[in-house]
């Protein structure tokens, strides 16, 4: 009962993989920022994505206008939430061993998920706005995923531009490379932490908005994105921001190709096996990031 794989099929899943990959890249960039600047492992990252998705849902439900415009709300809103979390709790585990940040962010995550469940119920929601695809020859490009791809790429490039060209961005990168030197240079490291966490949360929220139009929205949806973001930064190298972009695309491709050539179940395992292999063989990531 096998299926012969044709080049068209490979082409199709490659397209699907890249479309998904861009989203992973953007969301993972957020996680990379937090890890790079603060050495904090943020297990609540996917939860913030989920909150962004709910923001979009309610936007569309109550206002009925184009859900993509809700980016203007979800991103700033989650930016503020991120700043709040950093200011109130996360700043205290910045210098602590990784166990503290893992647990703290997990606690935040579980609290937020369950508050959401309590407030909005576990009923599955969705944003029905864009269905269908563009058919180009044998390839089908899902409209919603295409837009998600475009927006994710745009935001990621914007983030890079910000990190490379603006003063604040450079300060973030400097702090990420060496906090001591950054302090010596007069950078207000505490403020940088706030901005980094906020920015990361905004990126997660953008991810949430984009997937809200694609998949089902429910309180537990975020965990898988947290895990995938971990995978991406391991693949790309922690603290290596362009690495996140590469890692995301790679993950998207690997997932889809494994699903095609093997089965969808196995593709889950492949991703994690890849994680462990990369950690063992090239712990600084495929592009080389920072070792501890």
């Amino acid at each position: 009962m096998g299926v012969t794989i044709t080049p068209e099929m490979v082409g199709q899943v490659v397209v699907s993989g890249l479309l998904a990959g861009a989203l992973y890249s953007m969301v993972a960039l957020g996680l990379a920022l937090i890890f790079g600047v603060m050495r904090v492992i943020n297990v609540a990252h996917g939860t913030i994505l989920m909150l962004g998705a709910y923001t979009t849902f309610w936007w569309f439900q109550l206002l009925g206008i184009n859900p993509y415009l809700s980016l203007l709300v979800s991103m700033p809103l989650m930016f503020l939430l991120g700043v709040f979390l950093q200011r109130s709790m996360v700043h205290r585990v910045v210098d602590a061993p990784e166990l503290s940040s893992l647990l703290l962010t997990f606690g935040i995550s579980i609290a937020l998920v369950n508050v959401t469940q309590y407030a909005f119920s576990s009923d599955v929601r969705s944003v029905e706005f864009l269905t269908g695809s563009f058919l180009i020859g044998p390839l089908a490009l899902s409209k919603s995923r295409l837009i998600s791809f475009a927006v994710a790429i745009a935001l990621t490039l914007l983030a890079f531009w910000f990190l490379q060209k603006t003063k604040l961005g450079k300060a973030i990168r400097a702090t990420s490379q060496s906090r001591e030197v950054a302090m010596v240079c007069g950078i207000d490291v505490q403020r940088i932490h706030l901005y980094a966490f906020g920015m990361a949360s905004a990126l997660a929220a953008a991810g949430g908005t984009l997937v809200a139009v694609i998949i089902a929205i429910q309180p537990e949806m975020g965990q898988i994105y947290t895990l995938k973001s971990f995978l991406v930064i391991v693949l790309g190298g922690a603290g290596n921001y362009p690495g996140a972009l590469l890692g995301g695309m790679l993950l998207g491709l690997v997932e889809q190709l494994a699903s095609l050539f093997l089965t969808t179940q196995v593709s889950e395992a492949v991703a994690y096996v890849l994680l462990v292999l990369v950690l063992l063989l090239r712990p600084t990531g495929l592009l080389g990031g920072r070792s501890t």
């Binding site: 099929m9 695809s133 889809q256």
Partner: protein, 395 residues
């Protein structure tokens, strides 16, 4: 002072003892029926529907005077959609809360785990939301099925396909107990009806992206696609089928396709989709319409589905069994259930000596113009199936 204190204490104690002994006659105390339900966690939406079914049944039974002259009262806990928690809770209900009887939880997986406990204490359990045959074929004596088995969920799809001369079928499923049972059953049914199974693949629970699996299906181009799903995946698969332009002549899902939310979320993309359902309000079962009316008044705005009706119907069956047994004794109730052949709002209820349901019928509907039209089996059908499903680009 001390003597005064002592006499006051003595008086108070006497009063308390007196008050304690003045309990209403035991016959007035309500019959306690325990259960754990998935009120939080992955099955929350469906567990809550079932909970409402139980609650409404209790209300109606009590309005009619209860059973054996007593009211019934549900003692419900949340198992958080976890089998291990369910096991612990049923132990608690039986040994600590000392409930008189129990009813089943949500899902085959949790029912399977919990059945070991109820069997241990010889506590009969009517399990409305477990449709995996294996649970009832393990030599257990005290568990009774209400639903039609998982294995026949797609029987309608397969039969209708065969009748129209279709030849090939592909099946995909979520990789958990119930959908897997459905796949096994569907493969058997396909063989029996002369269809060739050309593709089978499972996907992990929670999988959001079906591009690869649907790409393979598109290449195989089956006449029929059956998906053994829950809710999220049913929606995602349907949507992605449209995006990837996968066009079987018939496409059916199992759980989830029957919820009004399915159509709300997919809109016109839900048209022509076949769904399996254990129960629809249109079916000519006694009291079904009244049940729906009462439900919408008691729980305004909340989802009604076969889980609610199943909870209600299962509870009805238990109450009837208590009546016929004339007691709360486990063995007597068991005997009563084994002899019963009744109709509840949920449909027929009759079990074989293993407790396996043999009277309840699965039906298949198709979404037509935003409505679920029952198209199979013929004796319960309200309309004809729209066949074949036109390709997406033509819609």
């Amino acid at each position: 002072m001390r003597t005064a204190f002592r006499s006051v204490t003595g008086l108070v104690t006497a009063l308390v003892v007196l008050a304690g002994s003045w309990t209403p006659a035991a016959a007035q105390a309500p019959i306690k029926i325990g259960a754990s339900l998935s009120l939080t966690g992955t099955y929350a939406a469906l567990g809550q529907n079932q909970q409402r079914g139980y609650q409404l049944c209790a209300k109606h039974t009590n309005e009619k005077g209860g059973v054996l002259g007593r009211k019934i009262e549900f003692v419900l806990y949340d198992d958080q959609s976890q089998p291990a928690t369910g096991v612990r809770l049923y132990e608690k209900l039986i040994t600590q809360d000392k409930v008189d009887l129990v009813m089943g939880p949500y899902s085959s997986a949790i029912t399977e785990a919990v059945a070991n406990v109820t069997e241990k204490y010889k506590m009969p359990v009517v399990a409305p939301m477990a449709s995996t045959t294996s649970i009832f074929k393990k030599g257990r004596k005290f568990i009774f099925m209400v639903q039609s088995a998982a294995e026949v969920y797609l029987e309608g799809l397969v039969e209708m396909a065969a009748k129209r001369g279709l030849k090939t079928v592909a099946i995909i499923n979520e990789d958990t107990l119930f959908p897997k049972a459905t796949v096994q059953g569907t493969i058997e049914l396909a063989k029996k009806n002369g269809l060739q199974v050309v593709f089978v693949e499972a996907y992990p629970k929670g999988n959001p992206d079906f591009s690869a699996i649907l790409t393979k299906i598109r290449a195989v181009n089956p006449d029929v696609l059956g998906a053994a799903t829950y809710f999220d995946d049913a929606v995602a698969i349907t949507r992605q089928m449209r995006e990837l332009n996968v066009n079987p002549k018939m496409y059916g899902v199992t759980v989830g396709g029957d919820l009004p939310t399915f159509y709300q979320l997919l809109g016109k993309n839900a048209e022509f989709v076949y769904g399996a359902t254990q129960w629809e309000v249109e079916l000519p079962y006694p009291g079904a319409k009244e049940f729906q009316l009462a439900y919408s008044m008691e729980f305004p705005g909340r989802d009604i589905s076969y889980h609610s009706a199943g909870g209600y119907g299962g509870c009805q069956a238990l109450v009837e069994a208590i009546k016929r047994a004339g007691s709360l004794d486990g063995e007597k109730i068991r005997e009563a259930i084994l002899k019963m052949d009744i109709n509840t709002v949920y449909g027929g209820f009759r079990v074989d000596p293993d407790g396996f349901q043999i009277s309840h019928k699965m039906v298949m509907f198709q979404w037509q113009e935003g409505k679920k039209v029952i198209v199979w089996p013929d004796q319960l059908a309200a309309g004809k199936a729209r066949f074949p499903t036109p390709p997406w680009v033509q819609r």
